[in-house]
Symmetry: C2
Subunit: 603 residues, 2 copies
């Protein structure tokens, strides 16, 4: 599946999108118009960065960032029961700073099972991941193995180079941003299947999709399918927020089949282990859960260590209290014991654990506002102050760290969130949920939040956690996942444009060119969602000729502005330069005629 | 359908939404939980302002702005063949400054019919509107009959009072804003069916929905249905952009059945009359079309008088040329004749015509950008300068005027649009299409543009023209119209919140209260789209008990943050005040214990 581009070094063509030089023919003779998977090779043959190559009918081609993994490569035979190839395995081994070990034994209660059966557990054995068993790894001899540690030592890892090619920047820029703590490259040494990606304000804005079964509904198969589906539409990371049964097993399947970093909230599983009784949680149970998940390969973990005992009373007058699940669990624990949070108290030990696997922190905003009324209040910003403190501690342990953000925030209060976060957290990447800009539209919260997401990303947020239409109402199905991802890809790309991200506009330009020239097939293929664009077009004008028609069903042939605009060009000169010259001449004549100002018309 | 509220004078309860005083019982004994149509009476019995009254399960009620017209009033027997009651007729007659006259005879070519048949035309006679024939009216003896003229004379019309009640402001504020040209109240004397509404930055942000058949598809019935459907979901005005056959007749049906102001682009019909050949357009044909439409009752008209000959060459280097249909038609005419636009040249005569019927100008942005690449360019801003000039001329003739805006604009270039428009056009209301913040998502342009719409409205845009998912691809169906309207209601309301519009947040607060207290039915009834919210909820948890369950299908009972939050309140004190006191006490104890700062944990 490697084509000519595979030998093209990273260039300005790689940043989000590019239009190939004029006149270049489509890659690979006889390749059909449309898009296919391609790779750009780095400095070594095992460093091949996937891209989505769109071949246009005018012979040009456009390269887009690709998150879909090996699934869209017909040359790779994927099988969810075997898992994905371990892309990063040799890189990790070559560093020689980690070692395999026996690992923590998997117990029935990891899957929420209380009583052992004669066969050693009630677990449905068919559900156990059948792929190649691999011993977990961790750092050896106290070595600092995180990407942050490497970056600080001035070393550019293959992961960093992979990201540099993907983002079209120099590898040194990647290293610098990671070293400064302004970007994270989430890549657990036990998740070698992941294709390296970076989260930071100097790079393309990223999108996270949440999946996860709950006590009420959904199965392992569904979750794996949602993960591959979400990445197919552009999710850059996926969080597995499962809370029901088979939580360990579901995560194993998701990790072994995921080409993107996987995030979790270990607290959810820890709570399952104490049967949902928050007050029975202990640091030991939590720590054990973190190790369990780190050994599986979770790339980043949400830790609600900023929900401190003294902050809980600050939420008493709120309209909607504490809406973060993790936040409310920790608040309940703090109040039940009237003790400071065990996460806050044991944060340094947690740093040591995360550092050993290169798990990235996502410091959770457990006190984020759950309604417009509660936005930017004392509770929220008190916690943010603590997240700043924890961020600095994490950095001492070389743990990569990003900071989570709200929530429900009206437009005029959004900027304060990112500005404060950047100041308090030393520019650590901000990772926000929305924010939702109004509370009144359940069933449309992908839109209420897409508005806020685009704005906060423009102002510097590095990753956006998607919101689906089902937010506040139910668990998202496959279609909801797609709608959420597409909405957030729009927000992210709109922000890339507004930030003036180099190369971002080339994608828009390619699509607008196709639009102006009535290249319908190219419009579809360049669209964020080609299938739906084509389907909508065909609903009104299904016939094949309509796809080359120089008008569309909105206005019909007589009223098409683009057609008239083209006619103007055609009738008043052949090339654009000629049109311009011709028009300029006419304009001069007009000016010469006195440039008539408005003359009152008598009537 | 009048309930107790009908006798409540305008109060703070009327602004967007309100929560009735604590403890007040639902209006009308035995009235079911849910929402129904109600009216608030003004200073006279024939001034009854419709509202949507939502009765909550906790005995409170919330009043929302209502655009749905008599269709949602079971006490009024509506019939599309008869048309709506002429609400404003007596007000118009009482002013005594207009007179009936024979009017321009309707001709077959008004409906795009070229040859007369033995029965006087090819028109399908069944399609002719059968409702009460009414002679058209216009100003008598050169009287200035527009709302602007009245406002300038210091007179508060019933229309202004109606609007004041609707917006919960003093009538004097309405008069002042209209007099200053900062707001328009579009209300043709020949459209007495319309329920007065106002467009201006000091009022709630409004949403326009476009309907209209095209040469390719759709029928009269479909368009009337789309109009009532759009207003049911909250469209404040509707533009009939029909371009095909039966254009006159379709408009008649739409006007006679519309409770909201109707806008048009007369140029589209004029072009039909010359068989789509732009160069054959004349001022006489255009003028005749404007009179035809003014006599029917069109409330505002888009006039592309700012597309001047010298500006056309400025578009030559654009990525997507001229994308406004009206703009491209006028550009083609200008170039074909190499003459200044006949709209610009005859603008004062046009002002006299519009003034006679109180038709409001919507000065079209014919050179708006059609792609990210073309945003804020010389052509666009040159035209804006001319719109400022035309706005001042229109005001001399007492013609109410708003200014149209773009289009496709990346987020960082949006603010310049509204700031320049407000400066150049003396704060005349800005009426924008989106703007779309990226070009790459055909089929999702309600979202790409909803982002821009929310932002530009926050910064002062008075009305937003909706964009449906079908934009760039096809003609919207009923569902697309709904999606477009709901998306834009979200953008408008998010902007009302961000502007700090008095009372806007009370709607959000009511819904968030219902959410925190697990009042599912109230959440549905308060939602912008109750049907879809309920449907999404029921998809996962259809059973009736789930609608009173203290958790939802997202997290299940154990993980519900709202439930845990409530448990915290319950377990640590009865009332909120007690919780707070209790928590504050605990917090003090915590502080007294030394307010332990973070202690490194040895490991």
């Amino acid at each position: 599946m490697t084509n000519k581009d595979a030998h093209t070094p990273a260039s300005s063509q790689m940043n989000g999108a590019f239009t190939a030089p004029q006149g270049e023919k489509p890659q690979g003779e006889g390749k059909p118009i449309g898009w296919h998977k391609a790779y750009v090779e780095g400095s070594r043959p095992d460093l091949r960065v996937p891209v989505r190559q769109v071949h246009l009918t005018n012979g040009q081609s456009v390269t887009l960032y690709d998150t879909s993994g090996p699934y869209t490569d017909p040359g790779i035979d994927t099988d969810v029961r075997r898992g994905l190839p371990a892309l990063r395995e040799n890189w990790i081994l070559a560093r020689g700073d980690t070692e395999e070990y026996a690992g923590r034994p998997v117990r029935p209660e990891d899957d929420g099972i209380k009583h052992t059966s004669p066969r050693g557990g009630l677990r449905n054995l068919d559900a156990v991941f059948p792929g190649r068993p691999r011993q977990p790894r961790r750092s050896r001899d106290g070595k600092a193995v995180t990407q942050l540690a490497y970056a600080r030592r001035g070393e550019i890892t293959p992961e960093m180079e992979f990201v540099a090619v993907r983002e079209n920047v120099l590898p040194e820029v990647v290293r610098e941003e990671i070293a400064a703590g302004r970007a994270v490259l989430p890549a657990n040494v036990n998740h070698p299947e992941t294709e390296p990606m970076i989260i930071g304000k100097r790079f393309l804005v990223k999108v996270n999709a949440n999946i996860g079964n709950s006590a009420v509904t959904s199965s392992i198969e569904e979750e794996v399918e949602k993960m591959t589906w979400a990445t197919r539409w552009g999710a850059d990371t996926v969080m597995d927020l499962s809370t029901g049964r088979n939580i360990h097993t579901t995560r194993e399947w998701v990790l072994r089949n995921s080409p993107v970093p996987i995030g979790t909230v270990p607290l959810y599983q820890a709570l399952e282990k104490v049967d949902g009784r928050a007050e029975e949680l202990t640091w030991e149970i939590y720590k054990d859960t973190v190790i369990e998940q780190a050994e599986q390969g979770v790339d980043y973990m949400t830790v609600h260590a900023g929900v401190r005992l003294p902050y809980v009373p600050l939420t008493a007058n709120r309209k909607t209290g504490i809406v973060s699940r993790g936040g409310s669990i920790m608040a309940a624990w703090c109040l039940a014991h009237h003790k400071e949070s065990f996460l806050y108290e044991n944060f340094e030990e947690l740093c040591e654990i995360l550092a050993a696997y290169d798990v990235t922190y996502s410091l959770g905003d457990g006190l984020r506002p759950g309604s417009i009324a509660d936005a930017n209040d004392e509770a929220q910003f008190a916690e943010l102050g603590t997240l700043g403190e924890l961020n600095r501690i994490a950095k001492r342990f070389h743990v990569q760290t990003m900071i989570e953000g709200p929530g429900h925030v009206p437009m005029h209060k959004i900027k304060e969130n990112i500005d404060l976060q950047q100041e308090i957290c030393d520019e650590a990447p901000f990772y926000t949920l929305g924010p939702l800009t109004t509370d009144v539209a359940p069933a449309y919260d992908h839109i209420t939040s897409g508005i806020g997401a685009a704005m906060i990303a423009w102002w510097g947020t590095a990753m956006l956690c998607y919101v689906t239409p089902k937010e506040h109402l139910g668990l998202p199905h496959r279609d909801d996942v797609k709608t959420g991802v597409i909405t957030y890809k729009i927000a992210a790309h709109a922000a890339d444009l507004a930030k003036g991200h180099p190369g971002a506009q080339e994608w828009d330009d390619a699509l607008s060119d196709a639009r102006f020239e009535f290249r319908w097939e190219d419009q579809f293929n360049l669209a964020l969602d080609p299938d739906t664009a084509r389907e909508f077009h065909d609903e009104t004008l299904p016939a094949e000729p309509a796809k080359t028609a120089h008008f569309c069903s909105m206005c019909g042939p007589k009223f098409c502005s683009m057609k008239i605009s083209q006619d103007i060009r055609r009738e008043h000169g052949g090339s654009q330069a000629e049109v311009e010259a011709g028009m300029a001449q006419k304009s001069k004549e007009f000016a010469a005629s006195g440039n008539r100002v408005y003359l009152p018309v008598a009537d």
